[in-house]
Structure formats: C-alpha cells, structure tokens
C-alpha cells in the first residue's frame, strides 16, 4: 500500500519539448549560416549571447549520447572507439571522449555530421575543460578561446576581500577580452543589450531552479532526482534565454502546489538519500531499483548546484537561493556592470563549480548541509571514473559522512562509459547496504 499520492507533472512535456528544440535550432543554424558557439556548457552562456547564436554544449551533448546508450549501447561505443583509435587514453573525461569521438566519427547524435562551430569558447572549470576544446579546435581547425575560472574559496576559509576582488577583476578582464576577441573572429559587432538581458535571465533561471530544489526539503519530496535531471537540464542548455525563465517560473508554481497537497515523487518514500556526482546516465534504472526499498534520492550537490544559484548565509550558516539582479533591485546598464555582476554570480553562487576546484573542507561542509537540510537519512556516492572534477574529494566525503554517523555507501562507475560500470556488483552492493540498514524490498 503506497504511502503517498502521485500525479504526473504538467511541466514534463514542456521540458521535453524545450530540450528537443535546442538540438533542432543547432541543426537549423547550420543551414542558415547562423553563428554556432561550442564549448563546455558551463562556458558563460550569457557571454556569447551578445550575438544571435546557438550554443552547442559539450556536457549535455555527451550526457544525451550516454543516455541514448540505454536503447543502443552502440552509439557511445562508436564514439569512444573513435577517440581510442586516435590514441586518446580511456581514463580521460568520458564527456570529452564522447565529444572528440563524435567529432572524429563525424556523427551527430541528432543526425547528420558533427556541427562545425563558428568558434569554440570554453570556461576552464576543471583540469580537463581548457584542454578539451583545445583538442576539439585542433581537429575542427576553428578559433578557440578559454576563460580561466578561479572561484572564491569556500566560506569555511574566510578568504580576504582583496583576494576576492582579484578573482573578480581577473574574470571580468577576461570576459571583456573575449568580447573583443569574438568581434574579431566573427567580424560582427557585439550587442551589449542582448548580453545584459542574457545575464539577467541566466541569474534568474538559476535562482528559480534553486527555489524549486528548496521545495524538495519537505517530506515527501516533490521531485526525485531522476525527475530533477530532466528539469535542471533546461538551465544547463539555455539558462541565458527567456524561455528558461518562463519554464522555471511555471515549474516553481506547479511544485509549490504539489507540496501543498502532499503529492510525492515516489509513493513509497521511506529512506531519503543524497547522491553525489553525476549518475551513470545509461543506468538510471539503478535509482528505480533503489525505490523498491523505498529509497529515494532527494537531492545531489550536482543536480541542485549545477543549475542553481546559491548564496551563503552566515547567520544561518547555510546556503539559500541567491537573488538575481532584478530581485536585488539592481539595474544592469553597461557591459562593465553586467560583467561584474555575472562574475560575482559565478564565483560566489555557483557552489557546484566551486567544488570542482576546492576538494576538501568546504565541499564536505556544503554536502553535509544538503544532507541535513533536505532531511536525508543517508548518502550514496557514485565514484565517478568519468569525471575527475566531481570525483575530487569523494573518498574524503565518504569518510566524513560515516564519521558524522550518516550511513554512506559508494559504488564505482562512470558517468558515460558503461564499460566501467558493473551492474551486477552495484546491485549486490545496494542490496547489502539496504540490508545493513535493516530495509527489505517492498516489491
């Protein structure tokens, strides 16, 4: 007998539609010679948005390929093989290997050959990012520029103001340079107004998503993580666009309504856990399997952080949804102002990106905060061999959680390379973990 009521989400199809539209627009852009910018999706999407462009994000593309692997494992296999044949080692970033392989095989998931961008623009958020699109650009032979991202230290380190200012100026300076660079490589004038709007929308989208995630703190959770995956990705793909703001506004209302009426994502929710790192996209059924024990993933630093703007509140010693310019009553008027606000947003409020560079103390604190505030009973860590940025600090996190008396298990896998995931062993490990917590299968 299910504990909670369920209802399909109205926003579900809209999200699907928006996701599809991105790949279509890229395909179209190719035909009518529109500017295509490629790079990591954490490249500051608002920055190239000074142009009427389509953005081809490396991570979501790779994730889609990996997800497509559920139906046809051949898809990714072909891309990985293409990369391996070109001598790219298999322990490198799985997303990168899919991108490079897809390019070398000249095959685009949505059909046709791999889109050749007007230029590549990358933000160097982890060791791989800056090199990833260097390699892509070598092969495509298109202009390439990269912005170095040095985030603020975690609040636990109480970093000095002068240091923060340096980081802000460093990032702002690079943005201004990149704008000039883009004008050079495209030969087209950069439109500050478009840019300023994009910054507003990007901050708004990510702030709204953070608010959506807050609603998952209640029992039962209004979204399970599988659902979150299909919603957060809108921000990943197009947070700098108005459609994204509209989508999250609507989603927030729907979720509030569900929360009020006690509608659950999983009718059997009994054991709430926080997951760490991206999931193995080709094996999301593992989450389904967990639900048979009443175990539901209610949050992950990854899914709430990657698309969420969070600000640290020293009084409450926790992180809360950050205020976008408009919400803070700020009117961005010039390129300079927009760059400064945008820089601050990424350096201070993007806790996910910050965790890629800050492996230890801060990340533990941040995730413990999530476990507590989202009322989780335990944690499951995906030791992700396909993404070193998120793998940083995972072993320490495991140790830390157990020391805090929070049941925590790890399983080894890979965000996109199914050859590194052993389903049998993972299932066996989950069963053991659940058994040691005295939980039996409900069905």
């Amino acid at each position: 007998m299910a504990r909670y009521k369920m209802e399909p989400l109205r926003c579900w199809d809209k999200a699907k539609e928006l996701r599809r539209s991105v790949y279509e627009r890229v395909a179209k852009a190719r035909e009518n010679g529109k500017i295509i910018v490629a790079g990591g999706t954490e490249s500051m999407l608002a920055l190239p948005a000074g142009y009427d462009m389509e953005f081809l994000g490396g991570e979501p593309y790779a994730a889609s390929c990996a997800f497509a692997g559920v139906q046809d494992p051949g898809v990714c296999r072909e891309f990985f093989e293409a990369a391996e044949n070109a001598r790219y080692p298999r322990d490198l970033c799985a997303y990168m290997r899919i991108g490079v392989g897809s390019l070398l095989a000249d095959k685009y998931l949505a059909g046709g050959s791999y889109p050749r961008p007007t230029f590549n623009l990358q933000t160097h958020i982890c060791d791989t990012h800056g090199k990833w699109y260097q390699i892509m650009s070598d092969i495509e032979n298109v202009p390439y520029n990269a912005i170095d991202y040095v985030p603020y230290a975690w609040e636990t380190e109480n970093e000095s103001e002068p240091s923060k200012k340096l980081k802000r100026d460093y990032l702002v300076g690079q943005m201004l340079d990149v704008i000039e660079w883009m004008e050079k490589v495209t030969g087209q004038k950069y439109d500050d107004e478009r840019f300023i709007n994009a910054v507003n929308w990007e901050c708004e989208s990510t702030s709204l998503w953070a608010q959506c995630c807050m609603l998952n703190r209640t029992i039962p959770a209004v979204m399970d993580e599988k659902t979150m995956f299909s919603f957060y990705v809108i921000a990943v793909l197009m947070r700098q666009r108005k459609e994204s703001v509209d989508f999250y506004t609507e989603l927030l209302d729907e979720l509030k309504d569900r929360q009020r009426r006690g509608i659950a994502a999983c009718p059997d929710e009994q054991f709430r856990f926080v997951h760490d790192s991206q999931p193995p996209w080709f094996a999301l059924d593992v989450f389904r399997y967990l639900e048979r024990f009443g175990a539901v993933s209610v949050a992950a630093h990854y899914s709430i952080g990657l698309s969420g703007g969070w600000t640290y509140d020293p009084e409450l010693d926790t992180w809360l949804p950050a205020l976008p310019p408009k919400g803070a009553g700020v009117e961005l008027r010039t390129r300079q102002e927009a760059c400064e606000w945008y820089a601050e947003w990424l350096l201070a409020y993007h806790t996910m990106l910050r965790s890629l560079r800050w492996s230890g103390r801060g990340k533990n604190k941040r995730i413990l905060d999530i476990v507590k505030k989202w009322n989780a009973d335990g944690m499951i860590i995906h030791l992700n061999r396909g993404c070193e940025g998120t793998a940083v600090g995972q072993m320490e996190l495991h140790r830390f959680m157990n020391d805090q008396g929070i049941p925590c298990m790890t399983y080894e896998g890979n965000v996109a390379d199914s050859r590194e995931f052993d389903r049998e062993r993972t299932i066996a490990k989950i069963e053991t973990f659940m058994e040691t917590l005295g939980r039996k299968k409900l069905y």
Partner: protein, 375 residues
Amino acid sequence: MIADFKSIYENRHNYAREWKERNNDHKIFGYMCTYMPEEILYAARVLPLRILGAHEPQNVSEPHILGMFCPFCRDVLAQGVLGRYDYLDAIGITHSCQHIHQAYESWVLHKKIKNFFIPTPNNHQTSRALPYLRGQLEIFKEQIEEWTGSEIGDEDLLRGIDIVDKTRMLMGAVYETRKSDIPSISGLDSMYMVVASQMADKGEFNWILEEVLGSELPGRAAREDPGIRLMIIGSEDDDAGFVEMVEGFGASIVVDDHCTGSRYFWNVTEKEGDPLTRIAERYIKRPPCPIKDFPARNRVPHLIGLARDFDVAGVIVIQQKFCDPHELDKVAVTKALEAAGYPTLYLEFDVTVPLGPFRIRVEAFLEMLRSEALF
C-alpha cells in the same frame, strides 16, 4: 661534488632536520608543485622543500584518494599520512592539477598543519594572468609575514630572487654541457641534481653547483661512448631506477622536460621592475606544465626546440599513470615530435616501476634507433 646530488636526494629528511638544527629552528615549508614561488619564502628566511613520493608500495592513501588518481599524488599523500614529513612547519600548494591538490587537501584534513594555498591562474596565456598572479603573490607574502612575524621588504625579495635565479642559471649551465658530443654528466646525475635542488637550501646548493661546474665537469665524460642520445619528457619523474636502466642499455639521456627537470629552472627572472611583478612574470613565462598550456599549444615548439638543440635521436614520453594533464597532451605532443623526425616511446609510471615489463620496451626502442647492425 656530483655525488652530493644523490646523497641529498636519498637523505632528504635527515638533510632537512639537520638544516633546522644548523639554522636555529628556522621554518621549513613543504610544497607540492613547482609553481610555488620559492623566492618569497627565501625572502622570509623560510626553507622551501618540494615534497615527493618514496616509490614504495603503501596502503594508507586509498581511504582518501580515488584509485583512478595518479600514483604520484597517492605516494605524496602517503608520505604525509605516514609522518615522514613531520618536521615541516607548513605545507603549501598553488593551482596545479586536481590530483595533487587532492593530496594536499587530504594532508591538511588529516594532519593538522599550517597550510597555504595560492589560487594561481590556470591560464598563463591571457594578459590578465600577470596582474592577477602578482596580486595573489602579494597576499601570499602578507600571509607569510603574518606567520613568521617579520616583514618582507623589497630587498628581501631581491635576495630571494637572486638565490633562486642563481640555482637556475647554474643548473642551466650544467645542462648546457650536455649538448656536447660527449656529455660530461649523465641523465641520472642530472636528475639527481634537479630533485636535490628542490630538497636543499639553495644558498648551500649553489656552492655545490659552482664546485661541480668549476672543477668537476671540465674535461669529464659521463661515459666514453654516449651511445644513443635521448630526450625524456612528461610528468613528475624522479624514478632513478628507470633512468639508470635506460642509460644502462648504452643510451644517454641528454635533456628532459619534467617538473623534476628543465621545466623547474629553465627561465630566470627579468631584471627590471617591481620584485613581485618580476616573480609573477617568471612563473607565467616558464615552460608550462600541460595543465597551463592553452588555448594555444606553446609546449610543442619548445619541446621540438629542445630535441633539436640537444641533438637527440629519440624521445621517451613517460607519465604517471592516470595523469590527465599529460594524457591530454599525449596525442598532440607525440604527433608533433614524430612529424619532426623524433621517434617516441610512450610509457606509464606507477608508484613502483615494473622494470621487467619496461626493459623490453626500452631495449626494443633502442634496437629500433640503432643502425643496421643486425642486417
């Protein structure tokens, strides 16, 4: 004496402890990546020492670091967990790679020790990197001043620059002698020299270097027939056993691109301008670790230049297993070298190098480079 290099390297911990006694307990600062601005530490009369692994199997790092991280960072952390560096007063690191940063973070988490992280730039090709790095160095200087309780003036910084630059110039001069047809120092001793320079008080170490250059190297031949001239490039490499094996097969390693080799000392500080800016500039202009080499590929021309200047017949590309920065450069670098006419042999290190499996690869590589003897 050349022999000193090896003995400093092999007795690094005794050396450090004795140094502390001799220098009425001045502070010792262990660092984990060669982007650490030693000049500032010398200016503060703090001794900077590089922390390296021990190349022994260990079983203490797994609870802290994922198995897919490079063996070097695990080996380094093990040294900390096992208490081999307990004489250090502080440890520090700059932005380098995530793996070694993990070792640093775990060390800090589990050994309560004073620690300094300088958030240096990752991209040295943007003009914005210099003012940013200069600013961070100033903050670092202030933190050191606070820690030692004594101010660091410009003249101190200049003294620091002079000490470190002198080591760089002297080691550069030693490398210069390896260009000759019969190098006067082996690849093994050269490696000992550079790693020893990272483990010794450079003030003292410079005397040794001057002595070696002045009285030992002239007219010296590392070996009568240098055999095949090789370049060795890649990640951190202080694996004496491997280099010894290679040179044992009648080859000579005449130049390298490692952070335990030429990358560490290749360029010196500009003479003009404010000290901190000059220090920052030197680190930005040094031959880059792959992790700092984007958007353009500045490593490639540098490596081909080295191969040409030192007249090598082939290149051993060797890296720590799972070292992403170097794996990300593997294809571009080997391609470029092969295209320039330098055959390459690609190998991967682990904490302990399995000499057996490596021997066949190296021997075959040398057989391949050797002339017609068998035909």
